[in-house]
């Protein structure tokens, strides 16, 4: 894909996501009616899609079912509806606290990741400097470094910094492991903004920073929202760092709370399901918000580099 193509898909995709694929289809080929690829018999679409939808949705439905039906019921519809399980996890099982902690970790690591990656991404996109190649290589290599296998040394580091049992440790760890990919994506977005726009602003008397804020940043907004949302979803979901670095119950996050519910000797399925719904809600909202950018965002940045 050329730069120009990448830019057009990216910008079109991020500003008008819903129309992007359709637009693509429409532009190059007026006689598309006759294409076999589009003439797939309907059943060949709907049958596999239906089967897969069933596989995707039954587990979700099962969770809602258990969360909303009374304990001990075996009905396959959540009726009569009850909120007892939610009351239990939220108040008795301290999910209110976990929710706050997860939110704090998610938002803080999202902001840190985005800001730090924005600075680094700008340097990678706009400058040639001596360590650039090496730095890019380090970014790529870091993708192969397992966060899970770094637990022991990270634990040591945070213990030395006296940050064990503080949310700061988790925020830093999440940020660090998301930085490389985020930076690669953002530098791709910045490369897609024509240099001439920025230069025009310099000529008009803006400094580099003001020109960046006034010209580049508004164009990056869709991309930044997408990578910021990825960062939020990742830290919201991540389990191992919180499990290892936070031992105090009042400091734990939602995934750890869920795991605790599952680890009990006799699992309270209703509470587990309600906890699952609480855990899913924010990411489902974020997902509904970004899913249209997902496809175009990845095609512009991630795989194509």
């Amino acid at each position: 894909m050329t730069v120009k193509e990448a830019r057009s898909t990216d910008l079109a995709g991020t500003t008008a996501p819903a129309s992007a694929p359709g637009r693509h289809r429409a532009v190059p080929a007026p006689p598309q009616k006759g294409r076999a690829w589009d003439d797939v018999p309907r059943w060949q679409i709907y049958v596999p899609l239906g089967v897969y939808l069933l596989f995707t949705l039954v587990p979700f439905y099962w969770m809602l079912l258990f969360a909303f039906r009374p304990a001990g019921s075996t009905s396959l519809v959540p009726w009569p509806l009850t909120l007892e399980h939610f009351d239990k996890v939220w108040n008795e099982r301290a999910f209110a606290t976990f929710f706050q902690n997860s939110l704090l970790v998610g938002v803080a690591s999202m902001l840190m990741t985005t800001v730090v990656a924005l600075a680094g991404g700008y340097a990678l996109a706009r400058f040639n400097f001596r360590v650039k190649q090496g730095f890019m290589l380090a970014l790529l290599c870091s993708q192969f470094i397992p966060g899970a296998l770094m637990l022991v040394p990270l634990f040591e580091i945070f213990a030395n910094l006296r940050m064990i049992n503080s949310l700061g440790s988790v925020i830093i760890a999440e940020t660090v492991f998301q930085l490389p990919l985020t930076m690669i994506l953002i530098s791709g977005f910045i490369k897609n903004v024509p240099m001439s726009l920025e230069e025009a602003a310099w000529v008009d008397g803006c400094g580099r920073f003001r020109a960046f804020c006034a010209v580049v940043l508004p164009l990056l907004r869709p991309g930044l929202i997408a990578v910021g949302s990825f960062a939020f979803v990742h830290s919201w979901n991540h389990f191992l760092f919180a499990l290892m670095f936070l031992s105090d119950q009042g400091k734990q996050t939602i995934p750890v709370g869920l795991a605790t519910l599952m680890g009990a000797d006799s699992v309270d399925l209703g509470a587990l399901a309600a906890g699952g719904v609480v855990a899913a809600l924010p990411v489902v909202i974020v997902f509904a918000f970004i899913q249209k950018w997902l496809v175009t965002g990845f095609s512009a940045g991630a795989v194509k580099g």
Binding site: R35, F239, G275
Partner: protein
């Protein structure tokens, strides 16, 4: 017009501003660089360092230089090392292959034009956003022996009451594989769908004029175009699946009878339960070298970035 002239002259003006820009790129990458040095590079080095040490905070009298003792123990004196490594490989291969095939199929389906496509995409991609722990929770509800799927299947006359697929060594593997597929397939579907958007449409038209069947169009146009994306996404996913411990840790805890313990899961449990950080670091180093070696081999064998495009 003046503006156009100024724009044309802008490269020199950029150089004139370069009093700050000389240091600027370094300042800009400094935060990221320092964070990565401190929290990625340093831990990697210290893992290698600790792997050569006896290091266990609960048994300080034994701490000290160990040479290659930890590695010798792993290779000759720890049957669990080989069995967990074997399970890790099985897990990665099965997951990546199935996720790729299903993800590719799904991407091809939702790439068609049909009524309700936007909604269908949102729904089938949605498990992508869900965490490993939540996936465990959801599938634990489905698999539980009292009120899970098996109960309703037994009601319908299939199987017997009180069976749990997770505690039976014969069914636990397909059960956890299914749970992980539920969450993992959307990743491939999203990436492949993204790449499908960039296949030049005129290639299909030309192929059709030549009378190529849909299967042949797929094999000769679509697949070669997707090659690099597939190689890269399978590699990233393989590494990710190898390292990912959330789901197995919470769904089976590595059981029953250690049947579903991967190497990282065992490393985590050594570090958490017996605090033998030296040995855990040695296993980590081994895992690390295996990953690196397999990644290089895979990229070499698949001729990544080669002829296809």
């Amino acid at each position: 017009m003046a503006q156009a002239a100024a724009v044309a002259k802008s490269p020199p003006s950029r150089r004139r501003r370069s009093a700050t820009p000389r240091r600027l790129p370094y300042l800009l990458i400094a935060p990221a660089g320092l964070l990565m040095l401190g929290f990625i590079a340093y831990p990697v080095i210290s893992v290698f360092y600790y792997s050569l040490q006896h290091y266990n905070p609960t048994k300080p009298w034994r701490n000290g230089f160990a040479g290659l003792d930890n590695f010798v123990t792993a290779f000759t004196d720890d049957p669990d090392f080989w069995s967990t490594l074997g399970f890790s490989l099985q897990w990665v291969v099965v997951q990546v292959v199935l996720q790729l095939l299903l993800g590719l199929g799904l991407a091809l389906v939702v790439n068609q034009t049909f009524v309700g496509r936007g909604m269908a995409r949102a729904l089938v991609f949605s498990p992508w956003a869900v965490s490993g722990v939540l996936t465990s929770a959801v599938w634990m509800l489905l698999y539980n022996s009292q009120t899970g799927l098996t109960r309703y299947l037994a009601d319908a006359g299939i199987g017997s009451y009180g069976t749990s697929w997770l505690s039976d060594t014969a069914t636990v593997f397909p059960a956890v594989v299914t749970a992980e597929l539920w969450r993992g397939v959307p990743f491939f579907a999203i990436l492949i769908l993204a790449d499908l958007q960039s296949v030049p449409k005129d290639l299909y038209e030309a192929a059709e004029v030549d009378g190529a069947s849909r299967l042949r169009q797929f094999l000769h146009i679509t697949l070669p175009h997707l090659k690099d994306a597939i190689i890269l996404s399978t590699l990233l996913r393989a590494v990710w699946e190898f390292n990912n411990v959330d789901l197995l840790y919470t769904l089976t805890g590595g059981g029953p009878a250690g049947e579903t313990t991967t190497l990282p899961l065992r490393i985590a449990s050594i570090a958490v339960d017996s605090h033998d950080f030296g040995y855990a670091s040695a296993l980590t180093s081994i895992a690390f070298v295996i990953l690196l070696f397999c990644s290089m081999l895979y990229l070499r064998l698949s001729k990544f970035g080669g002829d296809a495009k």
